[in-house]
Symmetry: D2
Subunit: 284 residues, 4 copies
């Protein structure tokens, strides 16, 4: 049996839902999940649909061609169609902090993540032993002012040669270049250690301490050219008091960071995220 | 323009979604919201759909008849169709506590609630002044062991004569009889002052204090014959510490109770709740 | 029996705690609550202490004098001593939104708030009927560009003539002048409808919607000259999704605003808040 | 410099605080933290105090003797005094689930936990590779009906020979015998995968699914003879919907379990927990 996930957006107009559901039926598919959302301000229609096709004759490429000509072109849709067999390939970028790395790899190991991790890239060697423990190839690509361009070339080469679908910056601590962002638009997931848009930039726990907030947070978002301003995928928060020193905020924040990042990775890998107008639509 | 909300459930089977969406199109309607859920354990399909009909010829009763014969009978559906023009009528039952009453009436007054409150019933006169302030008829129906049956007759009479759609027990403090429950099946909303199923029954804050929990909660649920065991609509919780006395739990709990109850009332009044197998499906 | 609450801060130095506890014992008091905090960055010691004095001879003024000469001067303390008999007097400033007003007055009515509300001031007449219902004097003081100075004079006159201890801006919607802020330093409590420091200024729900955050919040803080930048007393948050329109954020936010403001008012009225370096220390 | 943590409880009576603080001063100590709580129902006083002693002559044993004779005996105190130099020794019991194990060991590795882990015990060999990765001795002690007594002897032997201070059951999946509970009273920390007291016993996620709760939780508590009824140390919760299958609850629950257990371990290891009347007092 083939299982297909379809993501669509287009200008809102009558009969989109009926047309799509009819198209599935015409192709002998059964809809097992449908959800839609209309941005009334921008007048944009969004849909996520999962469908099963039992026929042996079903061919994903033919289906895509047919979908384009008989449906997508008519409604001027932007669309993506995924086969559930193809697990997305994720590259992990890390630096020196290990909590998000441990957390993601432990989930990966236990089968919780519907994805593949072909390799880990780091600008430092500190976490190589963890990659080794989990038997995942680890590439040490140092980044200095002088070597930055060269390092990016190496990164891109690795990403391309492994057909990487998306990148996760698990506290990578380096600003990613526009070149990489262009290639992986809305496909680079970062974890920022504050409740964005509060405390953009470096040292957000220090800023939170200074401002005396009673709640701290973490935010996972797609990386865009503007720092910490990309579409937000997931956020979470926890209470703090005046008695928490900066070190306490950092420790409490680690727990937020790993959970928020893992949730964002799962949403992305399960094709539940659409991006429009620098905001995400998250399907359930 | 007519706006219709449809709630459906039936055994899961192929082509339900396409058949329903086609039916809407055939009737010149435009689907503005669709959400579905399949209970895979019980193999039951649930759907909520909102549709707009611009034609002046549209007739809700004809639509219902047509829906039944050409769709619902075929799939053996249980279904309800609501016109958005008809606001549900809600009866408020209160006793001596005023926090939920104030909260609901303040929301009602500000236009936040999509419903009508024809009257308030209470077994005590203590809160009459609040009903008076908000200019809502208040019926004092005392309940004692001896008068209980008689009191219920009076309640039912009032409920029927005002075509009440659903009842909200805003800390009513009396156990409602099976007779009333039968007439208003899954239409009596209670607020229980604990995180059910912990601390069923009377004095839950005392039990929570004794057990030394670090989190307390409130639960809004439909009333069934078994006490505090009906389908849960909404729950919320808040942190407490050893330093909170029972009185503190009660005070903190009041804030939970009023928010949780108000949310449950809004979900019900907006026809976003379905009940199956003593559980709720809550559409967004 | 006399019950006294003492709030102290001074540079951290040895033997403060023992000296203070000895002083209480020497005065035949029994300490029923003690909590302390040291800001290690600034090296400042903070303490809150509650003590009971059973002797009929106990005199609060003598106690204060004695405290100053034999203790406070020695450690160069900033200190405040409150008798539990004297309930603080709170002035309510409102405008057109009623949710915080209803919430605070319902709590006040039920005895939940340890304070007195001598009057309500508003720049509009819209909420007068609520003040009337709760039988609290209501002063309509319109504010326009031309009358602003004059209006403030009237406000200050009322505040002084009623010996008001602190002011609560329950969605007052007007910027308070520095003159009022100077007189009531760290004694004017505002509720801001965002998770500060995100979305400072006007229309924070619109900004939150535009940024696509997954969590919205409310913040209660003391008013300082810089807008929305004063010491934070209390914050809370709630989850939202892409499907929430601005109106939904506003409605959900109202529930946050009233709970957060009420908690801040209770903390202040119970003398559990100290301010230092634009941050609050909140005792339990 | 010596740093000492003192935990006290006794019947509430006048002058305890002043007497303790005086005793510290007399011994040339400086109090850096003091917190107290009075259970007004039971009339019991609890205190936690941290104090620094700079003198080279300070001797912890002498201090304890002196504390007992001149203070504890007088007030009939139960007391414990810890030197901050002595890190508590924790034994980890695991079975087949790895999420709590990975989480605790990653924290341990990064220096977040103020304790030592001399060894891990498991009734299965499945997680040995993780213990090996983290270079912690792993003892495989199978438990069957027949070998249960024998297995416990081996466990106790290991615990004694390593001077283990407390035990953490990181999803150990076996019921611990009363013999072990007696030796480690209020020193065996369990993580239960529900919001206790809801869903006591086996398969709580299945029960939560069946009941249709909108919030699930996890609870860390000390093990007592009655199953899942010991003093609660820490709890946390997360929202779920009707659309979450049991497997989803289990996956979401894992995140709760590891955070809640880690927090409980930190509170215990930092001597911030006291137990009285089957409830915990948790100092900040």
């Amino acid at each position: 049996m083939n299982k297909i996930t379809i993501l669509i957006h287009c200008h809102d107009q009558p009969n989109i839902i009926a047309s799509v559901t009819n198209f599935i039926v015409k192709n002998n598919g059964n809809i097992v999940y449908i959800d839609q959302y209309v941005d009334r301000e921008q007048n944009i229609f969004f849909m996520r649909l999962e469908s099963e096709f039992v026929s042996d004759n079903f061919n994903t490429n033919n289906f895509k061609t047919d979908f384009k000509t008989s449906l997508a072109d008519k409604f001027t849709m932007k669309w993506r169609i995924y086969s559930s067999e193809a697990k997305p390939k994720m590259a992990l970028f890390v630096s020196k902090y290990d909590h998000c790395l441990y957390d993601l790899l432990a989930r990966y190991n236990s089968g919780e993540l519907n994805l593949e991790i072909p390799f880990i890239i780091s600008n430092h060697n500190d976490l190589k032993h963890i990659a080794d423990n989990f038997k995942i190839p680890f590439y040490h690509i140092p980044v200095t002012k002088e070597t930055k361009t060269n390092a990016e070339e190496k990164q891109l080469e690795l990403l391309k040669s492994h057909n990487i679908d998306f990148i996760v910056l698990a506290r990578y601590m380096q600003i990613v270049s526009n070149k990489l962002i262009d290639v992986y638009k809305n496909k680079i997931i970062n974890i920022h250690h504050s409740f964005l848009p509060a405390f953009v930039g470096a040292k957000p726990y220090h800023s939170a301490y200074k401002r005396g907030v009673k709640i701290i947070g973490a935010t996972s978002h797609y990386v865009t050219e503007e720092l910490d301003a990309g579409p937000i995928i997931e956020q979470d928060v926890t209470r703090v008091t005046h008695a928490h020193a900066i070190q306490d905020l950092i420790a409490k924040g680690r727990d937020l960071e790993k959970i928020v990042l893992a949730n964002a990775v799962k949403l992305h890998a399960n094709r539940k995220v659409m991006v429009f107008n620098n905001k995400t639509i998250i399907f359930t």
